[in-house]
C-alpha cells in the first residue's frame, strides 16, 4: 500500500473505469463526465453505497484514500452529494456524484461512514450546511460547524447571506458589476448606508441619516439602496426558491445595478445645478470622452476647477 503510484502504468483510464463500473453497477450508473481532468461518475441514489464499496474493494480501482465529501445545491431538483476518492497506488481520482432522494424538502443520502472513516465529519458538515440527512451515520448531530441552535441550512441557495441582503457591498463597487457597456458601476457610500441585519444597526443608521441629510431629496420614487434591499430580503423567501437559482440572483443584481446607474445619473444631474459651477466642465467632458468613469471625471474636474480658482486668486 505504501508503494505510492506503484501501479501508475496499470491505472485504468476513465473509459475502462466506466466500463468496469457499468458492469458491476448496471443501471445504478447514470452517466460519466470528464471535464478539466475531473472524472465524475453519476450514480443512482440506491447504488451510492455499492459504488463506494466497489471503488474501495475492487483491486483494479483501489481507491484507498478518502478525499472529500460535500453537497451541492442542484436547484429545483434538490441536492447533489459528491464524494471524491483517490488511489495512492494508481494515482487516479474519481468523483462519485448522486442526487439526493427527497427533493428540497427532505433530502437524504445513504451514509458511507462504514466504508470510509473520513466520511464521518464530512457528512456531518453536509448535513449542517445543506440539511441532507445521512441514514446510517453514527451521529449526525449536533451541528458541527454552526452553533447548536442555528436555524436554516446556510449553503442552500435560498438561504440569503444576511449581510449582503441587509446592506450594500461595503466597497465602492460590487464584485465585477458592470453595466452593458462594460463600465464599472460605481456608488458613493453615504453616511447611514449599510445598516447591519440587526434592529440596533438599523436604528443607528436612521439616526445617522437624520443627522446627516443627504444632498438629494427623498422623493417617493427615489428609493435609496439601504431601503430597497432589505425589502427584497423580505420578499426573497416568499418566492419559490427552487425555480430560479442563479438566474434570479442575476436578474436581481441587474435590476439593482440599473437602479444604481439611474440614481447616479440623477445625482450627477441634481448636483449639476449647484455643483456644476464647481467643476471644470471642459476637463469633465474630455475625461468622459476618454472613457474614464464618471466619478473619476468628476473628482478630477473638481480638482482642476479649484486649481484654476486658486490661480485666479493668486493673480488678483
Amino acid at each position: 500500500m505504501s508503494d505510492v503510484l506503484a501501479r501508475r502504468d496499470r491505472a485504468l483510464s476513465p473509459e475502462e473505469t466506466e466500463e468496469l463500473l457499468r458492469d458491476r453497477l448496471g443501471d445504478g450508473l447514470q452517466r460519466t463526465v470528464l471535464e478539466y481532468g475531473v472524472f465524475t461518475v453519476w450514480v443512482e441514489q440506491d447504488a451510492w453505497v455499492q459504488a463506494a464499496t466497489l471503488c474501495r474493494d475492487e483491486p483494479l480501482l483501489a481507491y484507498d484514500m478518502f478525499d472529500n465529501l460535500f453537497g451541492i445545491d442542484a436547484r429545483e431538483e434538490g441536492f447533489d452529494v459528491v464524494a471524491v476518492l483517490y488511489s495512492t497506488s494508481t494515482g487516479n481520482r474519481i468523483a462519485l456524484r448522486t442526487r439526493c432522494a427527497g427533493g428540497r424538502d427532505e433530502p437524504t443520502c445513504p451514509s458511507i461512514t462504514d466504508i470510509y472513516r473520513g466520511a464521518d465529519w464530512m457528512e456531518r458538515e453536509t448535513w449542517d450546511m445543506f440539511g441532507v440527512d445521512f441514514p446510517g451515520h453514527p451521529q449526525i448531530g449536533p451541528r458541527i460547524l454552526t452553533v447548536e441552535n442555528f436555524e436554516g441550512w446556510p449553503l442552500r441557495k435560498d438561504f440569503h447571506l444576511a449581510s449582503r441582503a441587509a446592506k450594500p457591498w461595503p466597497g465602492v463597487k460590487e464584485p465585477a458589476e458592470l453595466d452593458e457597456d462594460g463600465n464599472v458601476i460605481e456608488r458613493v457610500p453615504h453616511i447611514g448606508d449599510a445598516p447591519g441585519p440587526y434592529d440596533l444597526d438599523k436604528a443607528m443608521a436612521e439616526q445617522a441619516q437624520a443627522m446627516n441629510p443627504r444632498p438629494e431629496l427623498d422623493g417617493p420614487e427615489d428609493d435609496d439602496d439601504a431601503d430597497d434591499e432589505p425589502a427584497e430580503v423580505e420578499a426573497g423567501p416568499d418566492d419559490d426558491p427552487t425555480v430560479s437559482g442563479a438566474e434570479k440572483a442575476e436578474a436581481r443584481r441587474k435590476a439593482q445595478a440599473e437602479a444604481r446607474a439611474k440614481k447616479a445619473a440623477e445625482r450627477a444631474g441634481g448636483d449639476g445645478d449647484e455643483g456644476a459651477a464647481q467643476l471644470d466642465q471642459d476637463v469633465y467632458d474630455q475625461l468622459i470622452a476618454e472613457g474614464k468613469s464618471e466619478r473619476i471625471a468628476r473628482s478630477k474636474a473638481k480638482a482642476a476647477y479649484i486649481k484654476a480658482q486658486r490661480a485666479k486668486e493668486g493673480d488678483a
Binding site: Y36, D64, F66, V82, G118, L145, P175, L178, A246
Partner: protein
Amino acid sequence: MSDLETTERVLPSNAPGEDVAFEILGDGDFPTAEMSLSIGPAHPATHGVFRIVLDLDGERVRGARPVIGYMHRGFEKLAEYRDYRQIAALTNRHDWLSGFCNELGVAIAVESMLELEVPDRAQWIRMLMAEWNRILNHLMFIGSYALELGAITPMFYAFREREDIQHLMESATGGRLHFTYNQPGGVKIDLPKGFLKRSAEISKVTRERFDDYVDLVLGNEIFQGRTVGVGPLPQDVALSLGITGPTLHATGIAEDSRVTEPYLKYGDIDVEVPLGENGDAFDRFYVLLHRIRASLDIIDQIHDHMPAGPVNSKLPKMVKAPEGAIYVRTENPLGQLGYWLESDGGRTPWRFKMRTPSFSNVQAIPYLMQGALLPDAISILGSVFFVVGDIDR
C-alpha cells in the same frame, strides 16, 4: 472502572520495546469514576478556539470528542458572493499560516477553467513563494509543538527564521500573513530587484541553522521520550480518514501532490518527500522538520531555473468561468488542499468547496487519543498539526 482485577495493556503511550503491561491487582474496593475534562475552546494547547472533551480515568484518556466550529466564518458561502479574483482574499485566511499556498489553488482552478496561459516566470515565482510559505508554516509548528511539550526555547529560534522569511516575502508581496499575491493568470507584480539574491542568502542561513533544530528538539532525550511511540497511526486508518501531509508521510506513504500530480513546474525539479516509519508523534515531527530541508532544496533548484519574462497575463474585464466543475489539489504545508469549483457560467462560483487538510487530519484525534495519558493527549494534539481556521473555515 471499578474492576481493578484486570490486567491492562497500556499501548500507545509508551516507547516501543518497553514492557508496559501494568497489572492492577486489588479486590475492587477502590472504585474510580471517569471525569470529563473539557480542554478549550480557549486553552494554551489548542492554539486557537478548538475544544476537545476528554473522558479521563485518572490520567488515562478513555475517549476524546473534538468540538469544532468556534471559528466558522462561512467562507464557502462568502465565496459564492464574490468574483473569482476576490476569492483569493478569502482563501488565504482559512489557513492563516499558509496563505500563499491557499491562494494558489484558486488561481490554478480559475486558470484551468478559463484555459489561461500562465507565463513561465509566474509559475516559478509561485513555486518559490509556496515553498517559502511552507517553511514559514513548518517553523511555526516546530516552535509550537515544542512549546506544547514544555520546551520554550525552539519557539524563539523558529521566530528568528520566520522573521527573515517574512521580510523576504513582504518585499515581493506586501503582506506578511495574507499575501494575496496570486491572481488568475499569474502573480500581481514582478519580484523586486535583488529578491533572488536575498532569497538565496536566507536559504543558505536557514540551512545552516536547520541543524540547530535537529539538535535542540529532535535529538533531545526527553523530547524522544515524550513522542516516540505516542499516538501511532496505521496506514489504512490514515488513508480511510483522508489524512494527508506530514501526518500521512509519517506513516510511510509518500503521497504528495507535488510528486504524484505535479502542478506548476514541480514536474521539472526533484521533490523529496521525507518519510517516517511508525506514524507516531516523533515521526510526524521528524517529517515536518525534514520537509523544511526538502523545501530548501526545492528553493535552491528554483533559483537555478527562474526564467525572465512577464509574470501575468491579461485578464478579461470580467472573469467568468465557463460552466462545469473542477477539482484542484495542491500540497499545502499541512496536507492536501482541495478546491472543488463549480461554475454555472456566472460571475461568481456556484459552489466553492474547500477540502482543508486540518479538517481531515483532526478527525484522527479521537482514534489517536484512545487509551493515551493526558500529557500524551497533548503531545498527540500538537503532533497532528492543525490550524483552527483551517478546520472551521
